[in-house]
Amino acid sequence: MASPRTLIDKIWESRLIDSKPEGDLIYIDLHLFNEVTSPQAFEGLKLKGREVRRPELCMATADHDVPTGKPGLQVLDEIADKQLRFQKTYCKEFGIEHYPMSSSGNGIIHVLGPEKGLTQPGMTIVCGDSHTATHGAFGAIAFGIGTSQVEHVLATQTLRLSRPKTMSVTFMGTPHPDATAKDLALAVINTLGTDGGTGYLIEFRGDVVHNLSMEGRMTLCNMAIEAGARSGLVAPDETTFAYLKGKERSPKGSLWDLAVDYWHSLATDPGAQFEKEIEIDVTGLGPMVTWGVNPAQSVPVGSKIPSLESFATKSERDAAVAALSYMGLEPGISVSDIPIHTVFIGSCTNGRLEDLQAAARVLAGRKVSSSIRALVVPGSASIKREAERLGIDKVFSKAGFEWRSPGCSMCVGMNGDVVPPGKHSASTSNRNFEGRQGPGARTHLVSPETAAATAVLGRIASPSDLPQVNKKKGK
C-alpha cells in the first residue's frame, strides 16, 4: 500500500515534471496578472523573441492603480496611466483574457479567479502578487512570484522551485461567536510570528476551518503569507463544491461529476506526516486588532497594547519600541483610546460580498461617527452590482460610508486612496506596514464587522460594544 500523503504532497506530485537537486519543475495551471508586476516580464519575453506558451491559462485584470471614485474616474498620474495602457496592449498582442479598468468584469485579481470559477481544487496557481495565497481556500497550491518568475511561467508554463516544507495548523476549541475568519488569521500570525511559516506551505485543518464559508477560508489563506508562509490551503469539501457548482468556468455536465470524484481524493491521508504540526487553541477567541507595524502585533479588541516587559525576546521588544514610535502610541494603553480617523472596508482579504453583508448588518440603522471618514470598496464589479441589487449600497450610504468602485484601493495606496499622514485607520486589508496606506499612515487591521462598529463609535470597537438600534425610530 502506498504510504499516506498530505494534500500538499498530492497536488505537488501531480504537477511534477522533473526533479533535480536544484529544485522541482512543476506545471502551472493558472497564471493571473495585475498591471504592476507583469509589464517588465512581457517586455523581457519580447526582447528574447519568446512566445506566451499557454495564453489560455492566463487571465489579467487592472486592480492596483485603478481609481475607485465616481464613474468617469481619472487615473492618479501619467505613469499609472502608461502602465494600464501597457497591460491592454500586451494582453491584446498575446491573446490574453483581460479585464481593464471600469470594464464590467473588472476587480481585484484574487477576487475574480474564484468568482469566475477559475480557481478549482488541486490546481497550481501563481500571480505576481503575494496574496495569491487566497486561492488556497479551494485546496489549490497558489502562491506569489516575482517578475522574473512571471516571465518564466509566460515562456514555459512551469517553475523550478524547492519543494515547500509542509505544516499543519489545526484550530482547537470553539471561538467566540463574534470571531471571524480575519480574527483567526490574525491569531495564526500572532502565534507563528511574521516568519514562523517561512519555507512552509500550511494546510489549515480542523472543524473551525471547515465550518467557515469559502469567503472566510479565502480570508484565512490570504493572510498565510503574513506569517511568512509560501501559502496556505484548505482541503476541498462539500462547501467548496457547492460554491463552485454553476460558476462560469466550473466544469459542466459529466465533467463536473468526474471533477468532484477527483476532488474528493484531495485530502490529507490519515497518518500522513507534516514536517511541522501546530495546534492553536482558539477557545473564546474574539475580534482582534493590530497595534503595530506588522500583522503579528495584535491584541483582542477591548484590551490593551502590551507592556514592553511582556515581550519574550529583545528582538521582539526592539520591534515593539520601533512600531509604537511610528504609530505614535504608548505601551499599556487601551486600544479603544487610539484616535481613529479613517475606516476602510475592502481588499482581497475582506472585499467579497459576504464581507460587505457582514459589515452592513452592523451598520443597519446606525450612523458613522462625525469624526470618521469611512469608505467601502467592493472587490469586483460583479460584487458591486450584486450588493446594489440587494440594497447593501444603501445601508452603507445611509450610514455615511462612501460607496466606491472596485480595486485594491486603500490596501496599497497606489491609486490616490490614502490615509493622511499621522492619522490612524481601522482597515480590513492585510498589511499594517509603515506607509502602506500612504506616507505616515497608521494602520490597524480588523475584520469587516469590527471596522463597521469602529466607524459608528469612532473608536476601535466590536459589534457587541454597540448600543441596540432603536427599531421604532424613523418609522
Binding site: 504537477r15 515534471i17 522533473d18 537537486p21 536544484e22 529544485g23 519543475l25 495551471d29 504592476v36 508586476t37 517588465q40 517586455e43 489560455e56 487571465m59 492596483h64 492603480d65 505613469i79 499609472a80 502608461k82 502602465q83 491573446g95 490574453i96 483574457e97 468584469g105 477559475l118 478549482q120 490546481m123 502578487d129 503575494s130 502562491f143 506569489g144 512570484i145 516575482g146 517578475t147 518568475q149 515562456a155 514555459t156 508554463q157 523550478r160 522551485l161 524547492s162 511574521t194 517561512t198 519555507g199 503574513e226 511568512g228 509560501r230 462560469e248 468556468r249 466550473s250 468526474l258 506588522n294 528582538s315 520591534a319 495606496g413 497606489m414 498589511r431 506596514f433 506607509g435 502602506r436
Partner: protein, 202 residues
C-alpha cells in the same frame, strides 16, 4: 547574467527585523514599467532621516546589507530587488530572508545569504563599529568570512536552485526550455475539466 563567484565589500548594517518590501521600495515606484532606474526609491522614506545608515558617507562604497531577521517580507515586488541592484547592493545577509524575496534576489545577481542569528550578530556588530570592515562571500563554496567579526569560512544557507543559477549565470528560462518534451508530456495528460481562459470571456 554574469556568473557570481565571490562578493567582497563593506556593508550597511540595518539592525531591524521584519524589513518589508514596502520599506525597501514604496509602492508608488511599482507604477513604472521600466526595469532600471530604481536607486532613488531604495528605502526612500527611511532615507529622509539623515542619520539612516544608507546615508552614511563613509559607507558610500558598501555593497552588502546586513539586516535583522525576516528581511524582505510582505509584497512579492521584484522592484525592491531592482532598487537594491541599482543602488549597488550585491548581497543581503540575514538569519532569515522571506521566501518570495529570497527567490527574487538571485534573479538580479544579488546573493541571499542566510546565517544563524549569532553569526549575523557578530558581523553586524563588527560593521556597525567600523564602516570599512570587509565581508567576503564565497558564493561557489557557500561560505562567509569577516575577519573583524572573527567569522572564518562560515557556511551559509542558500536554495540550491538560486545557487545553481548564480554560479553559472544561467537564464533559468533557457534551462527549462530544454525540458520541452517533458512539459508537452504533462500537457497531454492534464485533467479535461481544468478551466481555460480566453479574451472572448472578457
Amino acid at each position: 547574467m554574469e556568473p557570481v563567484s565571490i562578493i567582497k565589500g563593506s556593508a550597511y548594517p540595518i539592525r531591524r527585523s521584519n524589513i518589508d518590501t514596502d520599506q525597501i521600495l514604496p509602492a508608488k515606484w511599482m507604477k513604472r514599467v521600466e526595469r532600471t532606474g530604481y536607486e532613488n526609491g531604495l528605502f526612500e522614506i527611511w532615507r529622509e532621516d539623515s542619520s539612516f545608515i544608507i546615508n552614511d558617507p563613509e559607507r558610500s562604497q558598501a555593497s552588502i546589507i546586513v539586516a535583522g531577521e525576516n528581511f524582505g517580507c510582505g509584497s512579492s515586488r521584484q522592484h525592491a530587488v531592482w532598487a537594491l541592484r541599482d543602488f549597488g547592493i550585491k548581497a543581503v545577509i540575514s538569519s532569515r530572508i522571506a521566501d518570495i524575496h529570497r527567490g527574487n534576489l538571485p534573479q538580479e545577481g544579488i546573493v541571499p545569504v542566510e546565517l544563524d542569528q549569532d553569526v549575523v550578530e557578530l558581523i553586524m556588530a563588527a560593521t556597525e563599529a567600523n564602516p570599512t570592515v570587509v565581508i567576503e562571500i564565497d558564493v561557489t563554496n557557500r561560505t562567509v568570512t569577516c575577519e573583524d567579526a572573527q567569522v572564518f569560512a562560515k557556511p551559509f544557507r542558500i536554495d540550491n536552485a538560486s545557487h545553481f543559477n548564480l554560479i553559472h549565470g544561467y537564464d533559468p528560462i533557457d534551462i527549462t526550455l530544454t525540458f520541452e518534451k517533458s512539459i508537452e508530456k504533462h500537457e497531454s495528460s492534464r485533467d479535461p475539466w481544468l478551466p481555460k481562459c480566453s479574451p472572448e470571456f472578457a
